[in-house]
């Protein structure tokens, strides 16, 4: 069909896009568009992309459960009916946080071309990536619970609402911390190295394979400064019926608010250098 070339105009009248949208409408529209695009793009990158999301926590759980079986033998001193449940609900919340932080890293530099469209700002990309990675981890939890139930076990959920709330808290924590790291890491690239060095032991001190009350009291006071430990422990408290988590919601959310404030303030201040 060469109709457009035969007419005198090259550009036929096309639908007008809505003008004068509020900034909230622009934000929601861009987020939706970017989410769809990223999901397609990730699937295009590797057909197994979503399977790999399952692999990392699954491998972690397998290694931890294996080690536990070797070291402790048959008699486990963990909460819950099975060490597998115990480790799954350490690995899922931890990787939820860690993957959301990781997803935020490098968005400013890798998506520079996108910021030519004024509708898209780094924070949109950061949030959308975080949502995708966060949802993947929630998916992992759902897959595990469904599989656990299918194998004939009872569903180990003592407080589903608290579980959702704890996972959501870790997601917000990941976005906030990721924003702080990304803003300062983009402005001072050397800082990225320091950050990655400092956050390397996070896996070991965030309660993936222990609860707060398993720690000796001297160590406990130090570890409790880590907000991720609070989040992971609260997740476990929501899942294991006999475990009452001593972690603090107010410390976790206090930390989130402070990190979020610093991140957003720095983002606002340095936006002109991020795009």
């Amino acid at each position: 069909m060469n109709a457009s070339q035969d007419n005198d105009t090259l550009i036929p009248p096309l639908p007008e896009r809505p003008l004068g949208r509020t900034s909230w409408q622009v934000f929601v529209g861009s987020m939706r568009a970017f989410l769809l695009r990223e999901m397609m793009n990730q699937f295009g990158r590797s057909r197994l992309g979503y399977v790999w999301a399952l692999a990392e926590p699954a491998a972690t759980v397998a290694v931890l459960a294996g080690l536990h079986a070797v070291v402790r033998g048959g008699h486990h001193a963990l909460y819950g009916e099975s060490p597998i449940v115990f480790f799954v609900f350490g690995a899922v919340p931890y990787f939820l946080y860690a993957n959301v932080v990781a997803a935020a890293q490098g968005v400013c530099n890798s998506q520079k071309g996108l910021f030519n469209y004024r509708q898209i700002k780094p924070i949109d990309v950061l949030l959308a990536r975080g949502v995708i990675d966060g949802l993947m981890m929630v998916g992992v939890a759902v897959v595990f619970l469904a599989g656990w139930w299918w194998l004939g076990h009872s569903l180990p959920l003592s407080d589903p609402l608290q579980l959702l709330w704890a996972l959501f808290s870790l997601f917000v924590l990941g976005v906030s911390v990721g924003l702080v790291f990304e803003v300062f890491g983009t402005i001072y690239p050397d800082l990225r190295k320091v950050i990655s060095m400092l956050t390397r032991p996070m896996f070991f001190i965030s309660g993936v394979f222990f609860t707060i009350d398993m720690m000796p009291s001297g160590l406990r006071e130090v570890l409790l400064w880590n907000p991720v430990l609070h989040g992971v422990d609260l997740t476990r408290g929501a899942v294991l019926p006999e475990y009452e988590s001593p972690a603090s919601w107010s410390y976790l959310w206090g930390f989130i608010l402070v990190a979020q404030f610093i991140g957003l303030a720095a983002y606002r201040r340095y936006l002109y250098r991020l795009i």
Partner: protein
């Protein structure tokens, strides 16, 4: 009309020093008139264009306009590599607020205008640079703007497509502005009406593109 008022833009150098691309410049560009911007390398032409489009934020000063300013045309760095040209086009429609029906109509226009054929359904990573530029150009042209920004439109595809692009500019005359940065002075002379010369003394506006080019050439010869 685009009003640029007291605009300053600088970039950090090593240490605490800064490089000032321009300091406190002010000028006006008319609407519905094609503008050619000339100047030496590093005179701040591209930076100015990016500031006009809001891709970068100035240190001080402001840009005011009475109409819509496009993103720089023919810019292909924003595409997702693993998804098709169609899906990339649809993404741009969505962030501009199109509903599904409007997006479908617009994407159909983009498919036809870009003349990509079956490549329109293939991932962008399989495109040649000219094909990418054609897709980007077609997407920009599918939206109505009052000011279209173009930074060096040398890469827009082959001879045939370039002629088409030029015909589009001619068609836009009297309806919209095209603000074009180029080192191809003949193209500017042909496509533009008024000119802005980014001289070392600051921007100089000329009502006739020929005068702007003459001033630029004269400066170069005296050096």
């Amino acid at each position: 009309m685009i009003q640029v008022h007291n605009l300053t833009k600088s970039y950090p150098l090593e240490g605490f020093s800064r490089y000032f691309v321009f300091r406190g410049i002010s000028f006006e560009l008319p609407s519905r008139t094609h503008v050619g911007i000339v100047g030496r390398n590093g005179a701040g032409k591209s930076t100015l264009l990016r500031l006009l489009g809001g891709m970068e934020l100035p240190d001080t000063g402001q840009v005011r306009s009475d109409g819509l300013i496009s993103p720089p045309l023919g810019l292909s760095s924003g595409f997702a590599q693993k998804i098709s040209g169609r899906n990339n086009a649809r993404f741009i429609c969505r962030i501009n607020g199109d509903d599904n029906a409007a997006a479908r109509e617009r994407v159909e226009f983009i498919r036809e205008f870009s003349e990509l054929g079956e490549f329109f359904e293939r991932p962008v990573e399989t495109y040649s640079s000219g094909m990418k530029a054609r897709l980007a150009f077609s997407i920009s042209m599918s939206f109505r703007y009052d000011y279209y920004l173009i930074d060096e439109l040398t890469a827009v595809g082959d001879q045939k497509f370039r002629a088409k692009a030029q015909a589009t500019f001619a068609e836009k005359k009297g309806q919209a502005s095209i603000i074009m940065v180029s080192h191809n002075l003949q193209a500017l002379q042909r496509d533009c009406e008024v000119g802005l010369y980014m001289s070392p003394r600051g921007p100089l506006y000329f009502d006739d593109i020929g005068e702007a080019i003459a001033a630029y050439k004269k400066d170069q010869n005296t050096r």
